[in-house]
Symmetry: C2
Subunit: 332 residues, 2 copies
């Protein structure tokens, strides 16, 4: 089998990672078309040792294409995904555009691979913070049923793209040198600072990032009764999100059982050294596939409640890797 | 009235801030003795325009002294506070050494000033994260009674002292320049990274910093039934701690009422611009007295539950300012 693949947003942080992961995993590529804005057209990107020229994204870009991996922002997905589907391609969309559309499966392959088959041309890739939380939560939910989840995130710059990562580095450099710096991507001072996630606020006081974690997890788990409360904070870290997850269960798992479930959870790796007070950190997860989990504690404030700590690469499992895994299920 | 003051640990981050705050607030100083380790003896520090020579801390340092402000670490407080008390001084201790001692008042002047009068020579200053959480929580507790608090912190380098702040800056500089860096204070990579608080782990899986927030708040509020669950994380920020606080109440306050209580809470200032998606940030609080609060939300996952976000200067209200406020109550 050989698949004709187009990448929308090929020059971005996720696009670049998609190229790496497709090569790494020997995805059976017959043809590879790299699509981006007019500004980036003509650039060359390397894939598996070859240089490929970036083309401008148009409605005609999808002729003959089997698979579109889209990460050029919600507006572009909204505009171009229908053309891709019309041209006969399946779109795996990294943006939030179609995620809550009842006709679009929202998939983490380790959790709900069966939903892939229900697609009508578009499959949505969940939000990065959602994926990193859902992977370790799902096996716990299956065995002990979640009653309520309270999650606080520590999110990296990469969630706002490669430009935000560059801006964090450049602003920090300017700060250390005592030089002025003009931000163009991140709306607040970011060097040695942090702030609640800058996605738009909604009427109920949650920002969109928080609501994504709450709503998308319900859709992926097929459980509308799931009670989740999220607080999403951007911290001056480059590319891995951390999350402190507090879970009240219907059942009462032991700490040992939570560790056993996390150790066996596909896509999750327990990384800790309790005696050395050593737990997962963003630098451990950066560039790695598994979501790293650890620091499981019994919550002394409430029965049937435990708490753990996870860190996952936002660009990899939080975006590009998950999309490629969906593609593998589709075409292998 | 004029007070003879000794500062233990005068050259540290909190010591330096104590000097600034005493001058700023015109504390009625009759004599000022700056005490530090042998290594720092002979250094000169400036106080209100005067240069004062740092003396080596010994058991004889407290002759004639009325007030000792101690922030030279728990070991030194344990060793030297009894000598200070014997010499007739009152010790306001910034370390954790005596905080949970039933004979030692643990005081946030805005909350339990009446406890100051019960001292037998030592008054303990609470943990920085505890103070920053307790100030906004107390008026909410008084009116609506807390049922359960889940708090996640985003803690600055300053909690580990001036040396840790310097190390964060130097490690970040080395990181940006691609140079190797050898850490001597912080046990983990800190540039563009974060990690669960490195205070010692205890048998129940909480680190000491977390247990401090839980136990100290109960003591300050005089309510042993308070259910608090804390997760403490160190982030690459210099000197202000942020905290995401989720509170289940016995009563059911409206969002408006929580804002009103926070606005009226002594030592707390509401800082936000909802329409601009602008909330308190560490840089807003750095070098400032009030704890900044905002982003009050109703938690959609559970009845009678609200959530808010606070940021406070770790060195000021988290340590030095609170100690000076206790001293003012003692001597004014």
């Amino acid at each position: 089998m050989s698949v004709k693949v187009a990448i929308m947003g090929a020059t971005g942080a996720v696009g670049t990672e998609l190229l790496e992961i497709l090569a790494e995993r020997n995805f059976p590529i017959g043809e590879l078309r790299l699509l981006a804005s007019k500004r980036s057209a003509g650039k060359k990107l390397s894939y598996a040792g070859q240089n490929i020229t970036v083309e401008e994204l148009t409605h005609d870009s999808f002729r003959g294409i089997d698979l579109v991996l889209a990460s050029a922002g919600g507006k572009h997905s909204k505009e171009f995904a229908p053309s891709a589907v019309k041209a006969g391609a399946v779109v795996v969309d990294n943006t939030s555009q179609f995620r809550m559309d009842p006709g679009v499966p929202l998939v983490i392959p380790e959790i709900n691979p069966e939903d892939i088959a229900k697609h009508k041309g578009i499959i949505a890739n969940p939000n990065c913070s959602t994926i990193i939380m859902a992977l370790p939560l799902f096996p716990l939910h299956k065995k002990y049923k979640l009653k309520r989840v309270v999650v606080c995130t520590y999110q990296a710059a990469s969630g706002a793209g490669a430009v935000a990562m560059d801006e964090l580095l450049e602003e920090t450099r300017a700060n250390l040198e005592g030089k002025p710096f003009t931000r163009s991507v991140i709306p607040h001072p970011y060097a040695f600072n942090l702030f609640p996630h800058n996605s738009p606020m909604t009427d109920n006081g949650y920002c969109e990032e928080e609501l994504k974690m709450m709503k998308e997890t319900r859709k992926i788990f097929h459980d509308d009764s799931l009670r989740i409360h999220a607080t999403t904070i951007r911290v001056p870290v480059l590319r891995a999100h951390s999350e402190a997850i507090n879970v009240e269960f219907e059942g009462n798992p032991s700490i040992e059982d939570v560790y056993a479930l996390l150790r066996n959870a596909p896509g999750v790796e327990v990384l800790e050294d309790r005696s050395a007070n050593r737990w997962p950190m963003p630098l451990d997860a950066s560039g790695k596939d598994p979501v790293l989990a650890g620091r499981v504690r019994r919550d002394l404030s409430q029965p049937n409640t435990l708490d753990f700590w996870v860190v996952g690469d936002q660009i990899r499992k939080g975006a590009a890797l998950n999309a490629v895994q969906i593609a593998e299920k589709l075409f292998r």
